[in-house]
C-alpha cells in the first residue's frame, strides 16, 4: 500500500513527534473507522490531557484527530476517522491504513481540556464529535468525577455508541432527531448543579446552537467549552477587515476567503504549513479586536487572551482586527 506507507520524511507539523505502528483497524460505521496506534517497540506512550488531539501525517499532508482514551499512561493511541469523500483532508488515505503500517504523529496536544475544579461534566456531542467527548467521559470515570452525555447521531451512523452506553449507563441520552435533542438539552441545561461545566463538540452550527442556548439560560462563558470540528467543517464565516498597523494598510477579508489567503493576495509572505489550524506556523499578533478562534493549536487560555491568532482558519468576532504586521 504505497499511499500509506511511512513517508520518507516527517512533515514539519509532526516534527519531534512519534513514529507509531497501526495495530488495529476496526469499522465503527459505514463512514467511520477506529485506528489504534502503538509504539512499534512496545512500551507506554506519553500521557495526555483528556480531549487532546494527535496530528497524523498522511502522504505529504497532515490532519488532526481526537484521541478517544482517558490519556492516563496509555499503551496505545486510539483515533476515529470520518471519511470525507471530497475532502482534501486525508481521511481517504487514513481509511486505507492497514495493520502493520507506520505513521508519523505529533505528541498529543491539548486544546479542549476539562476544568480541574469542575465537579460534573455535561458533555454534548454530534456525529464524529463524540471522539474528544468520549475521552472526557473516560477520564472523569477514572478520576471519580461524574459526567453525563447527550449524543446526537443519525440512526445506524453512531460511532462508539456501545462504549458510551457501557461507560455512562443512565447518564447517556441518545438522540436521533432535532426536537428530541432540543428538549433534552433545555432540560439538562436548566438542571445542573453549580460545579458543572459544559463541553460540546460537533459541526459548527450545532455547537453555536448549543452554546447560544446555554448563554440564554444564564451560563457564563467560563463554563462553556467547545472544540472546533476540523477544517473540513468550517463554514465560510462573516466578512471582516484587518488593519495592518506596521504596514499602514487596511484589507477586507470576504466570507469564504481566509485571512491567510487575503494577506497572500496582498503580497504578504506569512509562514504557514498545514493551512488548517493545526501546526501553529501562521500565528499572528493581534493588537486590537477579538479573533474568532477556529484553530486546534492554541489552548483555551491562549485563545481567551486574544493576542494571537492562526490566520489560516481563524476570523474575527469584531468588524475589524488590528494586527502587528
Amino acid at each position: 500500500m504505497t499511499t500509506t506507507a511511512l513517508p520518507i520524511s516527517a512533515h514539519p507539523a509532526v516534527e519531534g513527534g512519534l513514529q507509531l505502528e497501526v495495530t488495529s483497524v476496526s469499522v465503527q460505521t459505514e463512514s467511520i473507522v477506529s485506528i489504534i496506534l502503538a509504539n512499534p517497540s512496545g512500551g507506554t506512550l506519553p500521557s495526555y490531557v483528556p480531549g487532546s488531539h494527535l496530528v497524523v501525517q498522511y502522504g505529504d499532508g497532515v490532519n488532526a484527530y481526537s484521541l478517544t482514551g482517558s490519556g492516563n499512561a496509555p499503551s496505545e493511541y486510539a483515533i476515529s476517522v470520518l471519511r470525507v469523500e471530497d475532502g482534501a483532508g486525508g481521511s481517504m488515505a487514513m481509511h486505507q491504513l492497514a495493520v502493520g503500517d507506520r505513521v508519523y504523529v505529533s505528541r498529543p496536544r491539548s486544546a479542549f481540556a476539562p476544568v480541574s475544579t469542575a465537579t460534573h461534566h455535561l458533555l454534548v456531542a454530534a456525529g464524529i464529535g463524540i471522539t474528544p467527548v468520549l475521552s472526557h467521559a473516560r477520564a472523569a470515570a477514572d478520576r471519580g468525577t461524574t459526567s453525563s452525555l447527550i449524543y446526537v447521531y443519525r440512526p445506524g451512523a453512531g460511532a462508539h455508541v456501545d462504549e458510551a452506553r457501557e461507560l455512562l449507563g443512565p447518564a447517556l441520552t441518545e438522540c436521533s432527531n432535532r426536537t428530541g435533542f432540543q428538549e433534552v438539552l433545555t432540560e439538562q441545561l436548566a438542571s445542573q448543579n453549580l460545579g458543572t461545566h459544559l463541553y460540546v463538540c460537533g459541526p459548527g452550527a450545532f455547537m453555536d446552537g448549543v452554546l447560544g442556548q446555554a448563554r440564554e439560560l444564564g451560563w457564563p462563558e467560563a463554563r462553556l467549552h467547545s472544540e472546533a470540528f476540523g477544517a473540513a467543517e468550517l463554514d465560510e464565516g462573516e466578512p471582516f477587515s484587518v488593519n495592518l498597523v506596521r504596514s499602514g494598510i487596511k484589507l477586507e477579508v470576504p466570507a469564504g476567503v481566509s485571512l491567510l489567503e487575503t494577506l497572500e493576495n496582498a503580497g504578504k509572505t506569512i509562514p504557514n504549513m498545514c493551512r488548517k489550524g493545526i501546526c501553529g506556523e501562521c500565528s499572528l499578533s493581534v493588537l486590537r479586536g477579538a479573533p474568532q478562534h477556529r484553530d486546534l493549536y492554541l489552548t483555551d487560555e491562549e485563545k481567551a487572551e486574544n493576542t494571537t491568532m492562526m490566520c489560516c482558519v481563524s476570523r474575527s468576532e469584531d468588524p475589524e482586527l488590528e494586527l502587528d504586521l
Binding site: 465537579t119 436548566a190 453549580l194 458543572t196 444564564g218 462563558e221 467560563a222
Partner: protein, 160 residues
C-alpha cells in the same frame, strides 16, 4: 417572585433548582434592595455578618441552586470577601457574582510592608498597621484579589 428569608430560615424558602438572583446583604448597612434584578426571580437573604452560620446558610442556598443563578453581595468588604469565597467553593464563578462593597462599614486594610491585614472603623483615612505599626494611609483602591483596601506608608517622605 420575591421572598425574604431570615438567616435561620435561609435555604428553606427557596425552590430547588433556583436560577434567579440571590441577593445577600450583610451588617446594618449592606443593602441589595437597590440592585435591580430586572424580571429575573429574586431571593433575598439578610445576615448580621459573614459568620459561620450565615456562610452555612449561603452554602445551602447555593447548593440547591442551578447553573444560571447569580449572586449579589452587599455589605462591608470583609463580609463580602468571606461570602464570595464560600460561594466560589460551592462552584460559583467570579463572573456570576456582583460585589457591592459598602464603603461606610469597617474596612480591611492591607499593609504592603508586612502584609498584615488591619480592620479599621469607617472613619479616617489613616490607620496603624496591626503587624508592623506603620501608619498607613488608606487608599481608595479596593483590591478584589486581596479582599482589602491597599494601604501605604502615610509619612514615607518624613521617614527617611
Amino acid at each position: 417572585m420575591r421572598s425574604v428569608s431570615m438567616p435561620s430560615a435561609a435555604g428553606s424558602g427557596l425552590e430547588p433548582g433556583f436560577r434567579g438572583v440571590i441577593c445577600a446583604s450583610f451588617g446594618v448597612t449592606g443593602d441589595t434592595a437597590g440592585h435591580d434584578t430586572g424580571d429575573r426571580p429574586r431571593h433575598d437573604l439578610r445576615f448580621v455578618s459573614a459568620n459561620p452560620e450565615a456562610l452555612a446558610d449561603l452554602r445551602s442556598v447555593l447548593g440547591c441552586s442551578h447553573v444560571g443563578v447569580r449572586l449579589v453581595l452587599a455589605g462591608p468588604p470583609a463580609d463580602i470577601r468571606a461570602a464570595a469565597a464560600a460561594a466560589a467553593e460551592c462552584g460559583l464563578l467570579e463572573e456570576e457574582m456582583t460585589l457591592l462593597c459598602d464603603e461606610a462599614g469597617p474596612r480591611v486594610v492591607y499593609c504592603p510592608h508586612c502584609r498584615a491585614r488591619t480592620t479599621v472603623g469607617a472613619a479616617g483615612t489613616e490607620a496603624e498597621c496591626s503587624g508592623c505599626a506603620t501608619t498607613l494611609f488608606i487608599a481608595d483602591h479596593f483590591s478584589r484579589r486581596m479582599g482589602a483596601y491597599l494601604g501605604y506608608s502615610a509619612h514615607v517622605e518624613e521617614a527617611s
